[in-house]
């Protein structure tokens, strides 16, 4: 009897296993085929912030390029070697694949959602587009001509590169359009789908306008009329206090902590140190931000090292502990840069109100306060003859360029754009530099292998795929 029972059980099992459809074996059951749009926006914004915040030698080496930091042991990055670690390819992939791809997909979901009220839908699409424009801007300002019109098409493996100037004009237009569509009468994304502002549409308007000013001033030297109109329209609605800054808030616990915490603290990497170029300035001008930017060397002194030169880690200042806290925030757009742009706008004759000196002082004061200084610290610093707008060295490009270079500490990518644009301060090349100053990143090496014909054309169109090649807006 027992044997018969066993046989029956075996037969039953066989029947059960046979009824299963063979197609289902090939179905992913652990991952979703559809997701909410806001979760894709979250991922895009996090990737954008990670790229800017990181000091990983495979991701973001602009702290060395703008000579805020140097390296004790490894010198390749500081000496402008972007190819060995394929930093350019990583930057390109982050912007295209990890950010723009997700945003495009999110737009598709928002557009197709029948339950979303029109006003909310418009706000959400505008917000997705603002981050998209932000990202396209980073690509253009990093590389020059890029695949744009034919990009993000998964059926076309060989997208044509578009002219940088044309792309830039188009994204500026889109940004203006997005700004005009944002409506505080409707909500945007929910709190947990909006890392930057937790669903506050008014703050998004401020953020978008500061972004518009930032992107417009970049082309001021080559297209003054467009820059003027954009900045005059954006300035009244831009970020007007640190409370409205667009900041990405990292968490105190892994894995969503600030990338700098991984690269400086948890990895135990003894390589990143203060560059002499910035440290000498902070020392000589008694900058109240010095102790916020950097710690001391092992002997308790504030010392920077020559970029590109091997040096003993113990003898040089390290980045300050506060920027490497796991939950240190990362700035995506802020009041400080808004005021610097206003100062420059006044100098360029744009109608943004106030004087250049006034905006310059507000910018520096806001920077000092943000970093933890007091109003008294700011007063003392601003009173110095080498800081005060009327007495500081050089004409406006030099004064603003120099102070902005300091204030963009820990925002190395933006620092790189401004250094190329304003051409101040004048920084000597690192020891054993592999090339001249990088006015752009060379195209990812693998573009030559994967999109060769279009790459070759783009390289010749921009005047050679070299890091020294200047972008269309880089006139001086």
């Amino acid at each position: 009897m027992k044997t018969v029972y066993k046989l029956w059980m075996a037969a039953l099992l066989l029947v059960v296993s046979c009824t299963k459809k063979i197609d289902e074996l090939n179905r992913e059951t652990k991952k979703p085929p559809y997701v909410p749009a806001g979760t894709l926006l979250n991922n895009a914004v996090k990737n954008l912030s990670d790229g800017f915040a990181s000091a990983n030698v495979n991701v973001n080496i602009f702290r060395h390029v703008i000579k805020h930091w140097s390296q004790a042991t490894n010198q390749e990055e500081a000496q402008y070697d972007f190819n060995t670690r394929a930093i350019n390819a990583a930057w390109w992939a982050r912007m295209n694949r990890d950010i723009l791809g997700d945003l495009r997909d999110a737009k598709r979901y928002v557009t197709a959602d029948p339950d979303l009220p029109d006003g909310v839908k418009t706000n959400q699409l505008a917000m997705l587009d603002i981050i998209e424009v932000y990202t396209w801007g980073v690509l253009v300002n990093s590389f020059g001509n890029i695949p744009y019109k034919e990009a993000l098409d998964k059926t076309n493996f060989f997208p044509v590169y578009d002219d940088a100037k044309t792309v830039y004009a188009d994204i500026l237009k889109k940004l203006a359009d997005d700004i005009s569509k944002l409506n505080t009468g409707y909500s945007g994304f929910s709190t947990t789908q909006d890392f930057l502002y937790g669903g506050n549409v008014r703050k998004w308007i401020n953020f978008a306008n500061t972004l518009y000013m930032r992107m417009a001033i970049v082309i001021a030297d080559v297209d003054n009329a467009t820059a003027k109109a954009a900045i005059e329209s954006a300035s009244p609605k831009a970020i007007d206090s640190a409370a409205d800054n667009a900041v990405f808030k990292y968490l105190a616990s892994a894995p969503n902590n600030n990338p700098l915490y991984d690269q400086i603290i948890s990895s135990g990497r003894s390589d990143f140190i203060a560059a002499k170029d910035l440290m000498d300035v902070l020392n000589n001008m008694a900058d109240p931000r010095k102790t916020q930017f950097f710690g001391t060397n092992n002997a308790g002194q504030y010392v920077g090292s020559v970029v590109g030169e091997v040096v003993s880690f113990a003898t040089i200042s390290k980045p300050a502990a506060k920027i490497a806290l796991p939950d240190a925030v990362n700035i995506m757009a802020d009041y400080v840069e808004t005021e610097f742009i206003r100062a420059e706008a006044v100098e360029r004759g744009y109608a943004v109100g106030g004087t250049a000196e006034d905006h310059y002082k507000k910018a520096i004061r806001a920077s000092i306060l943000w970093w933890g200084g007091t109003n008294a610290d700011a007063d003392t610093y601003l009173a110095r003859s080498d800081v005060a707008y009327t007495t500081a060295a050089g004409e406006w490009r030099q004064k603003i360029g120099f102070q902005k270079w300091i204030a963009l500490y820990n925002r190395p990518y933006e620092g790189w754009v401004e250094l190329r644009r304003l051409d101040y301060p004048k920084l000597p090349p690192p020891v054993n530099a592999k090339s001249g100053f990088p006015n752009r990143l060379s195209y990812p090496g693998i573009e030559q292998q994967l999109n060769g014909d279009n790459y070759t054309k783009a390289a010749s169109d921009i005047g050679g795929d070299k890091v020294e090649t200047k972008l269309f807006w880089d006139k001086f």
Binding site: P33, Q75, A86, F157, P159, T192, S442, Q449, K466
Partner: protein
Amino acid sequence: MNSYVYHAISGSWVFSKHLQKWSWLSTGKLRANYATVGNDAPPLSLADVYDQPAPFYTPSGTYILFSLPNTKNNANLRPEKTTSKEVGLEMAFLHNRLGFDVTYYHTNTVDQIFPVATTTSIGYSSVMINAGNVENKGIELSLFGSPVSTRDFSWNMNVNFTRNRNKVLELYQNSKNLLMASFQGGVTLNATIGRPYGELQSNTFQFLDGKRLVNSSGLYPVSTTTNNIIGNVNPDWIGGVLNSFRYKNLTLSFLVDVRKGGDVFSLDMYYGQNGGFLPESVGLNDLGNDKRLPVAQGGGIILPGVTDDGKENTKRVTIVSATSTVLPQSEFVYDASYIKLREANITYTLPSKLLNGVKKYIKGVDISFIGRNLWLIHKNVPYADPEENLSAGNVQGYQSGAYPTSRNIGANIKVKF
């Protein structure tokens, strides 16, 4: 439900049967075959799904993140197909004392299924597709002979030789180059149309009349392009010789393996010199001083090469701790040829008279000593074994953290009951 048909045909002709009057011919066989073999797609490569990065758990709620995966799946995949054609000739002479087996083969792998690397401008870094047509053709030859064969002493010999040539005939869409792998150190492995499957590309020197160009700072300007071919990972040929000698109860055999050609990039040499771990990164310069000292203190080196005007470079440069900071990747590509004593083996068979008392239970006893990887007779890759590779399969020609090959020595007692 899809169904696909594959077919194969093979035949052979033992022509020696018709030539029995030629007593010196022991065996003669001609064979030929043709086959198509299909291969399926890997699981879960049809439908698209999202990846989920770690969420943000905050007091104001949980921020959920989803991300498009890096590889675009494809619901329209076809099975890949390999067509192979082969002809072979086997012959043996003089009562099988001497013979050979030679095969010529030609295979085409069409519609191979794999995640093809794409420019990330498309929003993905790879797409699952059916791609291309890769041709492999080559010759396999084995010779065997018994030069001596007596009651007490015999000598047997086996020689193998394989020569393979592969070529990429077709890729996907208008692609001219398939990126097979991107390695640390800025080196890629590629299959380019009309070129061998598996070429290394990266930075190289710039040349003036065949001599390395040195710039005004005394350094090598590296090429601005990274698609310069710096090596081909495919060997020219591989082969092996097995000799086996028997004297009465003692047998000695050894196998020598040879690989000729094929390149390998060594990240270990690249970083090892860069970080100053290897003896190559220290030493005296032409002035007799430590070359790592600054130029001002008599250190530094003069890089061999010519300047723009074709004159010999005379500028001394400081190299701090790194030699590779001034050398492009092509300098760290090595010829992966080798000659190895792969295996040696001594076997003693106990004389049967020793087993007289226990013959009922034990039919024979063999005692052997076996050694593998005993001697790397010749190689061109510094420090490492040229056979070491980062991974297996198609991704070849790249060493990173190469382990020394282990030498195995073992003993074996075989008792036959």
